[in-house]
Every structure is written in structure tokens, then in C-alpha cells.
């Protein structure tokens, strides 16, 4: 439940995909992708994604789709609204257009983001009421 603005380059988006499901760089999918496991996209995906695992949009990949997943890591281009139950990581070099909703959202330095962050977080005790706050998060209108 934290909104972090990470600048650490620790995230590893160029590592070889360890998951079993991979849409390779020469692959284009138009339609609906659903599933239980993790999915790594290196190519192009247009449509709709419902995953119970992590979706990883690698560098060079392009996804035009609303996303519903357990976690999301973006290093490529993404256009669409994101609803994630876990963590959203927008890595350096990523281009994201759309609203991000997740338990935690991190934007790495060098990421290009155009949309809204919608994420719950607890305000520090010395700010506001001292109780936990619920916020729409910072809003950047398109």
C-alpha cells in the first residue's frame, strides 16, 4: 500500500523470460488473452488481457489493450487501462498511456507516463489526519 517513485535501476526487464508463456518478438496477437500463468510479451498484442499471473511487457514490445492481471511490469509501450491486484512497475524506457490501478505503483526514472495513477496509500502520521488516507493519487490529465 505504498506509492513509490523508484529511481533504482535494480529492476531487470531484459532478463530472459523465465515464464512458460511468451509471445515472441515476431508475433502479433489480435484478440483476447486469458490465463492462469505469467505471460511475457516481446511482440505486439492488441485486444484484451485477463491474467491471474504477472504480465511482463518487454522492451520493444507494443501492447494496445486494457489489462487485468495480478502484477504488471512494463519496459515497452503500453496503451490501455490497467487494473492490477498486486504491483505495477513502469521501468525506464517504457511508454505508458492509460490509467494505472494497483496495490503499489512504481515509476522508474526515464519512464514515459501519460495517464492517471489510482492507488491506495497510507499518509504519514504527520500529514493530514494521521489516519490512513484514501486517495485517488496524483492526477495528471491527458
Amino acid at each position: 500500500m505504498v506509492l513509490t517513485r523508484s529511481t533504482s535501476p535494480a529492476s531487470r526487464h531484459d532478463a530472459a523470460p523465465s515464464t512458460q508463456a511468451v509471445l515472441g518478438s515476431g508475433t502479433r496477437v489480435r484478440g483476447r488473452v486469458t490465463g492462469d500463468g505469467d505471460l511475457t510479451v516481446l511482440g505486439q498484442l492488441e485486444g484484451e488481457v485477463h491474467l491471474r499471473g504477472e504480465l511482463c511487457i518487454a522492451e520493444g514490445a507494443r501492447v494496445v489493450s486494457d489489462i487485468d492481471a495480478a502484477a504488471l511490469r512494463v519496459a515497452g509501450a503500453l496503451e490501455g487501462d490497467v487494473h492490477v491486484s498486486g504491483d505495477v512497475a513502469v521501468l525506464a524506457g517504457a511508454h505508458v498511456r492509460g490509467d494505472l490501478h494497483g496495490a503499489s505503483v512504481s515509476l522508474e526514472e526515464g519512464a514515459d507516463f501519460d495517464g492517471r495513477l489510482d492507488c491506495e496509500f497510507t499518509l504519514p502520521a504527520d500529514l493530514g489526519t494521521g489516519e490512513g488516507g484514501l486517495s485517488d493519487g496524483p492526477k495528471a490529465r491527458r
Binding site: 512458460q20 511468451v22 518478438s25 515476431g26 502479433r28 484478440g31 483476447r32 500463468g37 499471473g53
Partner: protein, 104 residues
């Protein structure tokens, strides 16, 4: 170029086109076009017309298969649809209903 793997838990409904090898372990419904090889593994389901290079089927395919190369239906495969290919093998234990067109 990395190849494409549709993992066992994944379902794709729509159109999939690839310039590279495609391995299906999950489900594909719609259309599958690949320039290179397509492998439908045991336990996989493809309900789609397939165009591909060399094809290996050990899972279930419902749809027409067009291959520029060979098609191997392995034991355990279940194919309902027409197969157009330059070469074809149907293993003992493979189920197949459809026509074969070898362009002779």
C-alpha cells in the same frame, strides 16, 4: 529471434500471426498463421485454421491445416479438419478425420 510459447494456462481467442516458431501448450481459438514451425503439444487445444511451415501435432486440433512443409500427426494427436501439406505422417495412435491434399 525468440520463439512464441503459448503456455499451458493461457488461452488466446483471436488472431495470432508469427514470423517465428510457435509452440502451443494451452489453447488457441481463431486463426493461427506462422511463417515457421508450429508445434501443438500434448494437452494443447487449437480450434483454428492453421497455416504454417513444418507442423507437429500431439494435441487436439479442430480446423484446417495448411503447411508449406510437412505435417506430423503424432500418437495421441486428435485432428478434425483437412490437411494440405507436401508430406504427411500419421502415427499409430493418432486420430484423424478429414481430407489430405498433397497437391500431386
Amino acid at each position: 529471434m525468440a520463439s512464441t510459447v503459448i503456455g499451458a494456462g493461457i488461452t488466446i481467442e483471436g488472431e495470432l500471426s508469427a514470423d517465428e516458431d510457435v509452440v502451443v501448450q494451452g489453447t488457441v481459438r481463431g486463426k493461427l498463421d506462422a511463417r515457421e514451425g508450429v508445434t501443438v503439444e500434448s494437452g494443447a487445444t487449437v480450434e483454428a485454421d492453421i497455416t504454417a511451415g513444418p507442423m507437429t501435432v500431439a494435441g487436439a486440433v479442430t480446423g484446417n491445416i495448411t503447411s508449406t512443409d510437412r505435417v506430423d500427426l503424432q500418437a495421441g494427436a486428435r485432428v478434425v479438419g483437412n490437411v494440405k501439406a507436401t508430406r504427411i505422417t500419421i502415427a499409430d495412435g493418432a486420430q484423424f478425420k478429414g481430407n489430405v491434399d498433397m497437391d500431386v
